[in-house]
Symmetry: C2
Subunit: 284 residues, 2 copies
């Protein structure tokens, strides 16, 4: 672990609440280098997508995280049910889901993120996509419960309902979580939900069902529907206000920075992480 | 009026329900040429934005529409209140609103579309933007009522909440319309609302408050947040299903085609209009 002084002044207790979703970092870096840099800055938790551990293997990644005293907040993501409108696609989605739960178990993640998937294009049926997401999570639930891994339904922004995830509101995620029962929670992502006219009341109603909270910012203009999120402070989202809502609802877990952005992914590792830490302290 | 045979076979009664929002057509054409082409194809109603009549003047445009036996469905749009967080901007938004109502009156439009406007960026306060939209419509309402022009609140897609319009759901539009009272309705745009988990129940609840219905399609992928809508049939929206919902709710007015698309706007006038008519008949 490098012993150099961090380039930004940070409040260690505040940083103890920070988790870094690794999608924020470009794919040009080794996992170990990213983790070392997290340790250097005082970041204590990370969240990988499969791409971050697939090549080296999940056992290797779990060891790399553990050896550094880090922990895994969530594993991203279960996302194949929505469009799985053939028996073959459905079976593949189930296998993928089991595998993700197993990987999360090995990584000792708190929960698996379920974005669910989009619409089967030919069907033009978003209601059927939502039903499949619900059915898929129900099918995976005994395995997740046995492993002690929560499944977190994440409402995605409605602009990604067609092709990424059709759980398009906190209200829908809540209704699904209620129906599915024990072991299913909701992940509140400020970027995906800030526009919701019922934001405050829906977050309050979720209460203990909130298992995770993510931050990034909405840029004006936004030039890509998936990969142009802003760093906290660069956009129009009242992040401290939404954080208060989730904390008033009883959530006091990690605040995860997840900035899907082609621009930030193209930046150097230290630049991105220094900015994450600085903005987390100043803008969240 | 040209007497050439339309290039597509259309059902005249079905086309009697079609209105063409002129934003669907590129800005390289003269208003008269667009209107002539509408007449040739059997389209009986159009909806201009200010850019379509500003240069020639609204009186000239009103005459051009009237002379051809066409009518105006709506005038787009009142959109400056959301971000008007200074007294100067507020007064400008009010003046702009009065002017749009006067233009709609001269054009004999059924209603004026109110998208309201986005968030004042520095404020990061979408709730305040919505309050300003409500206050602005309330201030304009006596003038609109006296003119006999309805004001139609249009929920825009949440991806445009920051910079175009912060009425982000049918439920919010309905609550605002209820609060504002007589002379205020809701415009249901399938593109903006198809993802809403409460779509069916919200449309049913709106009932007689629905004053307009617009169609276009959601493309996969979508490459621009405002100007990459698809022509009906090219995307994943169940347009006949949503049309049934608004008709079951009691709406039997015009079905307006509004395709904001850089690609379609770059096409020739006849190509676009032939496609509009063909797809309207086949896919809506």
């Amino acid at each position: 672990v490098p012993s150099s002084t961090p380039s930004v002044v940070v409040d260690p207790p505040a940083l103890g609440r920070l988790a870094l979703n690794l999608i924020t970092i470009g794919s040009q870096h080794r996992l170990e280098d990213i983790l070392d840099e997290c340790v250097r800055l005082g970041i204590t938790a990370v969240s990988p997508w499969r791409q971050h551990y697939e090549e080296a293997g999940v056992a290797h990644a779990a060891r790399a995280v553990c050896e550094r005293g880090l922990r895994v907040n969530t594993v991203c993501r279960i996302a194949a049910f929505g469009a799985a409108d053939t028996p073959g696609a459905w079976q593949a989605a189930l296998r993928e889901g089991y595998r993700t739960i197993d990987e999360a178990t090995e990584l000792k993640a708190g929960f698996v993120t379920v974005t669910g998937g989009g619409v089967a294009p030919a069907s033009k049926d978003v209601v059927a996509a939502r039903k499949r997401i619900c059915d898929g999570v129900e099918a995976l639930l005994p395995h997740a419960r046995a492993a002690g891994v929560a499944l977190a339904l994440e409402p995605l922004h409605p602009m990604t309902a067609a092709d990424r995830g059709a759980i398009s509101s906190l209200g829908l995620a809540h209704a699904m979580a209620r129906e599915l029962g024990d072991g299913v929670g909701v992940l509140v992502d400020a970027y995906n939900t800030w526009w919701d006219p019922n934001l405050a009341s829906e977050i309050a109603a979720l209460g203990p069902r909130i298992v995770g909270f993510q931050v990034s910012d909405w840029l004006i203009p936004t030039t890509d529907l998936a990969f142009d999120r802003g760093m906290m402070g660069d956009g129009v989202i009242d992040l401290p206000g939404i954080r208060r809502m989730v904390e008033d609802a009883g959530f006091h877990g990690l605040v995860e920075v997840e900035v899907l952005s082609k621009r930030w992914a193209a930046c150097g590792l230290k630049d991105v992480l220094n900015t994450v830490v600085e903005r987390f302290t100043a803008c969240c």
